[in-house]
Each structure stands twice: as C-alpha cells, then as structure tokens.
C-alpha cells in the first residue's frame, strides 16, 4: 500500500473516532440538559397548579347587632355551602382566622383557585343569625402578616365610620 494512502486512512479513522466521541459527548450532555429542562418545566407546571393560601381582609358592616366570631364562622360556612357546595368547600379549606366583633374587621383564609367564587358567595350574605349585615371584601394578601398590617391601616382609616 502506498504511504500516502496509509496516511489518509489513519487521518480518516482518527477523524471518525473523534467525531464519534464528540457526538457521544454531545448526546449525553444534551440529554442531561433536556432532562433538566423537562424537570424544571414539570416542577413549574406543578407549582402553578398548586393551590396557594390567600388571606382576605374583610369588614362586617353591621346593620343590627354584632355577630360573634362563632356566629360569623357558621354563617360563612352556610353561605359557602350554598354558593360553592360541600365539595367546593372541601377543596377550598376556607377558615375564618380572625374577626374582631368590635371593629368588624376580619381575615378569612381561602385558596387561590377559588378566589372569585368564595368572595362572591360570602358577599351574598346579608343575614347572620337574624342579624342584618353587609360583608365588604377589602383586600387579598399572600401572607397573614400583611393581612394583619392591612387591618391596622383600615382600622385607622375607617375609625370614623
């Protein structure tokens, strides 16, 4: 065999080897990259589907006498039962966190996937244990601390009403 042919064969063989090694490396690298992208996308999708807690600051405008915490809690549950049903209630996990019967301000824990339905259902409430009232949704917060801070602000603002 001619020496120049041997050289060409050696070069071609080494090039083919280099290309195959490089392609193997790229394949494994991209596979890892693809897997990591896939994992992050999945986690984002799961994260967005996850129900987050939200805190609704509200005020009870009393037209008669003050409902107590227990009375209001019961009335909110009744209103939700009528508005979103028992199964909806099971999913929302609504809880009356705080209610000051003197100032009328309170905090209700709801979940992010049922915000409008929950607020609308409790907004329809006009009677609580035969006491006429008006539930005024004020603001929605992501943390309980912010909700308490908002209550303080509102108590100062609406002290004259």
């Amino acid at each position: 065999m001619e020496p120049w042919i041997e050289i060409i064969i050696i070069i071609a063989t080494s090039t083919a080897l280099a290309i195959s090694i490089a392609s193997m490396y790229i394949a494994t690298r991209f596979h890892r990259l693809f897997r990591s992208f896939e994992a992050s996308f999945k986690s984002k999708t799961l994260r967005s589907k996850k129900r987050k807690k939200r805190y609704l600051v509200f005020r009870i405008y009393r037209l008669d006498s003050n409902p107590s915490f227990e009375e209001l809690d019961l009335c909110i549950r009744e209103a939700l039962k009528e508005g979103i049903g028992l199964l909806g209630m099971a999913e929302t996990g609504v809880k009356l966190i705080r209610y000051n019967s003197t100032s009328g301000f309170g905090v209700l824990r709801i979940v992010s996937s049922y915000i409008e339905r929950t607020i609308f259902s409790i907004s329809r409430m006009r009677l609580c244990n035969n006491k006429k009232l008006l539930l005024i949704p004020l603001v929605l917060t992501g943390t309980l601390e912010k909700a308490y801070k908002k209550i303080q602000d509102y108590e100062k603002k609406y002290s004259s009403f």
Partner: protein, 199 residues
C-alpha cells in the same frame, strides 16, 4: 378607583337614614350613586347623587337631560324601539326581562350608543340567582364584545341590598369579564347624559 351604583330606590327623606346610606356609600368607596325619587344632581362629601327615573311604558319613555332615564322594556318590540333612542339613557334589564337581552338587542344598542344597565339584586335571592347569573353573563359578554357601555347597578331598596365594590369585582371575575370594562363605563354614560357634570 371610581365606583358608582347608578340605580337605587332607597328613600332619602329621613335625615338619619339618609346620612347612614350616604356615609355607607362613601365608606365603600363609591363616587356616584343614582337614586330614584330625587329631582336634581347634588354632591355630598365627594359623592355625586344623580336623579334617576325608571320607565316601563314605551309611550312615556323620553330621554331627558334633567334625569338619567332608564327604560325597562317589557317586550322585545319595546326594547328594540327604545334601543334606537339617542344615547342619553340606559336600557335596564333585571329579573323580569333579562331574557330580552339577546344579540339583536345589543346590535340595536350599539348603533345608537345606548347603554346597558343590569340590576343585580336578583343575585341575592337564592332561587333566582343561578338562572339570572347565567343570563346576565351572556348579556354582558355580548355587550362588551360589541362595545356597548355596561353598568352594573344594585337596584337596592334597602341598605342591606347594597353591594361593595369588591363584591362586584368578584362577580366580574366569576363571569370571566374584565372588571375594568364595568368600573369606568358609567363615567362615559354620565358624560354622555350631562357633559358638564363634575365627577
């Protein structure tokens, strides 16, 4: 934000009751209210009070510059006729006539720039609420799609029938409409009715 409840029937004759209603509206953040039974525009503590009249008889229906007239049609024919009037009035739909609000009606109203007014007091009644909410949603969505101004009014006859702005917003979210379409449309309606009125 600017909120308005352009149709209420709460009598403001007794001073104590009147003060209570007005202070409640101010506390809720309303900038204007429309009341049936008064004859002139006034402003109390930044709250504009607009005189309203609701007419159900087509023969008595006359758009007016003194009071903001709402025509409540009893039949499709009357609704179409009223919809052709110039846009200084509103066509009112409530529990009794919400079925009349169809595509053709909205098209007539779009051509004449008449506004759509929906009274939401039936939503407080558990029996009529589901059906009314369904019809109301269709009616409002049609109107917004065609560019007709939409007003949501409480139609309150007593204090406890008043709705808070946050509740109206949740209602808008519930029926998948942008609440901005509702919140500011009343300003256009008032400006069209009385261009010189300061809000």
């Amino acid at each position: 934000m600017l909120y308005a409840d352009l149709l209420t029937y709460i009598p403001l004759k007794e001073k104590e009751a009147s003060d209570r209603v007005l202070s409640l509206y101010i506390m809720l953040g309303y900038r204007a209210i429309g009341i049936v039974g008064i004859d002139r525009v006034s402003n109390i503590g930044g709250l504009s009070i607009i005189p309203r009249v609701v007419v159900s008889d087509i023969d008595l229906f006359r758009p007016s510059r003194k009071v903001l007239v709402a025509f409540k049609p009893r039949s499709k024919e009357h609704a179409r006729r009223a919809g052709k009037a110039k846009g200084v009035s509103t066509i009112l739909f409530d529990r009794d006539n919400i079925d009349i609000c169809d595509d053709e009606q909205i098209e007539v109203m779009r051509r004449s720039s008449t506004s759509l007014e929906v009274v939401i007091s039936p939503l407080l009644d558990s029996n009529s609420m589901p059906r009314f909410l369904n019809r109301m949603e269709k009616c409002i969505k049609r109107a917004i799609r065609e560019g007709v101004d939409v007003i949501i009014a409480s139609g309150a006859r007593e204090v406890e029938e008043i709705w808070a702005p946050g509740s109206i917003r949740s209602l808008c979210g519930l029926i998948s409409i942008d609440h901005w379409n509702i919140i500011y449309s009343w300003v256009e309606v008032i400006r069209r009715w009385n261009p010189g009125l300061k809000l």
